[in-house]
């Protein structure tokens, strides 16, 4: 005799549980946590460098950066004087919520207003893991294909913002910007899109404004919660 037992539970329910705890903690303490995802070499670390470079030293901003090996990225980012911590996954192709919780537990860090998480360079696996972030941000550089949103729909569907990086190289590559935008909007009609160049600095003012708005919104939510 065979009996079918319905389970109906997310396979990553344990990750989901830890992510929900992190999210509640971030919301309560007014931390905007953003999860940056892209293929290797699209410019996540460069975008973070340009972001930190333009910040006042009294801004409460912190970075968690994930890689399979080395702490090169943390070293690159630490020179700006903000708290930076490397998560070395030792082979795992993505960050998961437990790694974030552990890194935060081991880190004597005053609650930041902005916590930027740089995921492992990979356009597929990180999309499956909730880290408790307020939003996922996907980066795509113009040296990649403009059909990437169609090939990797999961991350473009889940991201709130698409940062198209390296636009200074557009004259030299066969990347069709309008096609890339159209493809991203096909997968996710609500995705916001920014075009930037971390080399030339083009578009970075809009990126900073986007970050500023997210932080302002979080502050307003904390104030509303307290009142």
């Amino acid at each position: 005799m065979t009996e079918r037992v319905p389970i109906e539970r997310k396979v990553l329910s344990e990750n989901g549980r830890i992510a929900a705890e992190l999210r509640a903690r971030f919301q309560e303490r007014g931390t905007v946590c953003l999860n940056l995802i892209s293929s290797p070499g699209a410019g996540k670390t460069s975008l973070l460098e340009r972001t930190l470079e333009g910040m006042n030293r009294d801004e409460r901003i912190a970075v968690l950066t994930g890689d399979i090996q080395t702490d090169n990225d943390a070293q690159r980012l630490a020179r700006f004087g903000f708290p930076v911590r490397q998560i070395t996954t030792g082979g795992t192709c993505h960050l998961d919520a437990r790694m974030i919780a552990r890194a935060l537990a081991e880190w004597s860090l005053a609650d930041p207003e902005l916590l930027l998480i740089e995921n492992v360079g990979n356009l597929v696996c990180p999309s499956s893991y909730d880290l408790g972030e307020a939003a996922k941000i996907v980066l795509l550089s113009v040296t990649e294909g403009d059909d990437k949103p169609l090939k990797y729909p999961s991350i473009f569907f889940k991201a709130e913002l698409l940062v198209l990086n390296k636009v200074d190289l557009l004259p030299y590559v066969p990347f069709d910007m309008s096609r890339a935008r159209k493809n991203a909007l096909r997968i996710n009609p609500r995705i916001e899109i920014l075009e930037v160049s971390c080399q030339s600095g083009a578009g970075l003012d809009r990126w900073r404004a986007w970050l500023g708005e997210r932080c302002q919104k979080a502050r307003a939510e904390v104030a509303a919660g307290a009142g």
């Binding site: 037992v5 999309s127 999961s154």
Partner: protein
């Protein structure tokens, strides 16, 4: 290749569930994978089989239900598929633009089949 980690989570869930039914043998595992889940079904099956091998659960067939992307229109309640190549997500019935994705992101352990040994 995060399918190995996901298969491991699934196998742990199967073990936990099996412990709640002593004396029964697990005959089959049901899994639901959405097309937007970022998970490759065949890589997951390969990983799951590799994990199950050399455990008392071997052989353990994995039945995968693939879930296409579907949206629902809050205006008229119509549910419809959102497909390649255009992924048109406006409601085909009433033209509503703010439709909600209701299926396609699943990664769910749906059922377990138990057999008497």
């Amino acid at each position: 290749m995060h399918e190995l980690a996901i298969a491991n989570s699934l196998f742990q869930a199967v073990q936990t569930e099996a412990q709640r039914h002593p004396g029964m043998r697990v005959g089959r595992v049901g899994l639901r994978i959405g097309e937007l889940s970022g998970v490759d079904p065949e890589a997951l099956r390969f990983s799951f089989d590799a994990i199950v091998k050399e455990t008392p659960f071997d052989p353990l067939p994995l039945e995968i239900e693939l879930c296409p992307r579907r949206h629902c229109c809050p205006g008229c309640g119509h549910t419809f598929p959102v497909r390649e190549p255009d992924y048109a997500s406006d409601c085909p019935r009433c033209g509503g633009k703010q439709t909600e994705c209701v299926s396609g992101t699943e990664l769910e352990f749906s059922y377990l089949e138990l057999e008497e040994p």
